[in-house]
Amino acid sequence: MAEEVLLFGVGRSPFSGRVEMALKLKGVEYKYVEEDLANKSPSLLKYNPIHKKIPVLVHNGNPIVESQVILEYIDETWPGYPLLPKDPYERAIARFWAKFIDDKCLPAIFKAFYGEEKEREQAVEELSEFLNYLENELKEKKFFGGESIGMVDIVANLIFWLEAWEEASGTELLTREKFPRLTNWTHEFVSNTIVKESLFPRDKLVAFLRNRIGGPNVSK
């Protein structure tokens, strides 16, 4: 039976972007279905009835949801390029940082982007603190995964979104002075051929975010 791999996503979503990156790194052929979040398809609602969100990976009719669950599934199902290290301790550390990014950095980013005026300042401070942890974790490595991109790097794609928001809102957070390693990491990350293919065009993303937050000169 021919293998069927479907990915339901939204171009500007970092979460479906992660799955695309992983599938491409593994060299998996898949069919991409762009969802309109204002008008969710019956298929999406059928495959993810509980959360009704993207991304959804459907492998031979079986749906898998939640981006990090999908990434682990992809790593376990398709051999070749490893997303997680082999050593159990290194895997535990990688999983820790991936969880840290989504449990801590993501809510702070959200509050910083879309929060109330008073919330935003605190969110930016918190986010700075969290980014510092990531900065230290990078140490002298090119990527969180070492010499090559791994699961933590893929999950850290949020930084690309963070930078776009900085441009859209006229905020400076991830500066080279404060975060030299993360700045280098971002450069290496977006220069990677496969990552480049999976990233939403930066200018479109900035335009979208500007629209949502009203730009640096427009008060909310």
Partner: protein
């Protein structure tokens, strides 16, 4: 393996610590347990081993510290691979187990917390409703995951059993506090029976805390947090 090679920093009242201990029991791992009296103070070792979150459980294996309960459980499963498997072997079943444990941690348990800390009746009622909704989903999930067997993991306790079962104590406390039945033979027949099997399993039995003792601890926690505010 020398007992001191494996150390677990924990707290008797924590369902998350329970997860790690169940996993170590399943694998028959000899380990040193250090109780953290975290309401009073956190040990140097805890603060050093988990500087970011400063929480239990922390597993220290051959001087390597790691945290986050489900990450610890997966580590235990991968290292002591000759023991009974905790995660299912099929990738899709593993994804299903991970999905539901994420649901429990990200959606279901927070409603229990909301009930615990809720000040007004409305907030508490909403939290209970959310918990009930979640239990309906988990009842259904049990049917699909167990495939007619005793546990989410099949014939033996697995990842999802551990992820969910650790909350049975807190669930009982919630039921008492709210004067309601959440897990029952009428509302959640499969989960009700599963809960009994889970609680009497040899890897779990010794770790079950008395409901009243847990409730008392909860009151202490509420008092302390209120005093701090």
């Amino acid at each position: 393996m020398a007992k001191s090679d494996v150390k677990l920093l924990g707290a008797w009242s924590s369902p998350f610590v329970m997860r790690a201990r169940i996993a170590l029991n399943i694998k028959s791992v000899d380990y040193e347990y250090q109780e953290e009296n975290w309401l009073v103070s956190k040990s140097e070792l805890l603060l050093k081993s988990n500087p970011i979150h400063k929480k239990v459980p922390v597993l220290i294996h051959a001087d390597n510290p790691m945290c986050e309960s489900l990450i610890i459980v997966q580590y235990i499963d991968e290292v002591w691979s000759s023991g009974p498997s905790i995660l299912p072997s099929d990738p899709y079943d593993r994804a299903t187990a991970r999905f539901w444990s994420a649901y429990i941690d990200d959606k279901w348990f927070p409603s229990m917390i909301a009930f615990f800390w809720g000040q007004e009746e409305d907030a508490k009622k909403a939290a209970i409703a959310q918990m009930e909704e979640g239990l309906v989903l988990l009842e259904e999930a049990f049917g699909k995951c167990s495939k007619g067997k005793a546990f989410f993991g099949g014939d033996r306790i697995g990842f999802l059993d551990i992820a969910f079962g650790c909350f049975l104590g807190s669930l009982r406390v919630t039921e008492k506090a709210g004067g309601i039945e959440l897990l029952s033979e009428t509302k959640t027949p499969s989960l009700s029976k599963w809960a009994e099997r889970f609680s009497s399993d040899i890897a779990v039995k010794e770790l079950i805390s008395d409901t009243d003792k847990l409730a008392e601890f909860g009151k202490k926690l509420q008092a302390k947090m209120t005093a701090n505010n």
